[in-house]
Symmetry: C2
Subunit: 218 residues, 2 copies
DNA sequence: GCATTTTCCTAGTGGTCGCTACAGAAAAGA
DNA sequence: TCTTTTCTGTAGCGACCACTAGGAAAATGC
């Protein structure tokens, strides 16, 4: 339906030098920077959610016409999917990094919660987590389901990390990994909601400290 | 703007006996039960949120015409406000009751979290909490702010109850009532999100148990 | 009976939604 | 230069949004 030329997502910096002529590409060159426009769309979706962000909102903040938007990103839904992917890379990766880089599940969760307090209240951008909020009350079921799977997948990753520590003997064998992982996920989601409701970084950090007290003593 | 006749909210069961003629009221009697219609609207708003529930959705589930809806409830926003109030009475009162009826803040929060697990996964109605989710990503700022104030007010009530126990010597004097109250609020919000994401009553009860472990020993 | 009051149904209002047809503009290749 | 390719701006598509005018219908008061 949409005349998507291939290779757009490879992002080979076609608009980085607007006038010098992107060699090999025929036709009129794009007049805007695709990555910058995507970032603007990301911020809009992050702040207002999928459905409350209209295409005309998007064209305004991205400073392009609607046909340019559709030619560069496909329809609204595929733009949102790309935004979610970009969000995962640029803003939503602290949890996975914490789990991967810290030596224990407990340390990983500790760092995850502490960094969430910082990330969810960072100045100059919307508070809270796009994945948690942007598809709430969405009448397009597939969009809502897509982010739900992402959230549940993140909790499953925490559970796997805890399980690994149980197997390794770092955590007691009777540890309920699923419940502990869900607790971490629920805390993250509660912290994100709190950030949206006006809680400060310091207040979220206090939340993280309290939540960490439930872990078995090390 | 709207020709709201007075006394509609008193709900004097005017439509309970449709044909017998509500004595004293002139004009054609209402052909539907106002309380039943309100309950249908409540369920729709609860499930889909304020903005994703259109007026035509409402007229369908309430089984009335649009003019009847506007005559009986005012515009969409005032209907939603009435729904929120009704929700607070019928479904959202367990927290306040727990705080008021239990002898200690700790016992109140314990009961609140345990009952939240049951309420947020009750069969036959939407999961999670309307106050937490129904105005997410709402482009009508006043609606979003209204529910936000309700959420923050609930947390403030928990804080007051904890403070009272600190003053009474039931809790240690160095208790951080604000942080403990916010932790309870964040847990409730996380549990509600988990319920929306498919968590079962048993899983939410396990969350509640874990969250209660952070309280000072009694 | 008849006038009055209130509600209900039909059929719209203007506005915004996501999306696109079309023609002109700006580049590359021949 | 001329053709081809691709992008951009205008202008508008049908569908849905919240909401309502107008008149018929159904009750009461007289």
């Amino acid at each position: 339906m949409h005349s998507m030329v291939s290779g757009e997502k490879s992002g080979q910096a076609e608009a980085s030098t607007p006038k010098v002529a992107a060699r090999g590409r025929r036709g009129r060159p794009r007049s805007f920077d695709r990555a910058t426009a995507l970032e603007k769309a990301l911020m809009a979706f992050w702040e207002h959610g999928y459905e409350a962000t209209s295409v005309s909102d998007l064209t305004r903040v991205m400073d392009i016409g609607a046909p340019s938007l559709y030619a560069a990103f496909g329809d609204k839904r595929s733009l949102f999917e790309e935004v979610v992917q970009e969000y995962g890379v640029r803003y939503g990766s602290f949890g996975g990094r914490a789990l991967a880089e810290e030596p224990t599940a407990r340390a990983g969760v500790e760092r995850m919660l502490r960094e969430a307090a910082v990330e969810y209240t960072a100045p100059g951008r919307p508070h809270g987590c796009l994945v948690i909020h942007a598809a709430a009350n969405c009448s397009t079921a597939e969009v809502e389901e897509s982010l739900r799977e992402r959230r549940n997948g993140n909790i499953a990753a925490i559970e796997d990390r805890i399980d690994a520590d149980v197997v390794a003997g770092v955590l007691p064998p009777d540890t309920d990994a699923a419940a502990l992982a869900r607790h971490t996920g629920a805390m993250i989601q509660g912290m994100s909601q709190q950030a949206r409701d006006g809680a400060s970084r310091v207040e979220l950090e206090a939340l993280a400290e309290i939540a960490l007290a439930v872990w078995p003593r090390v």
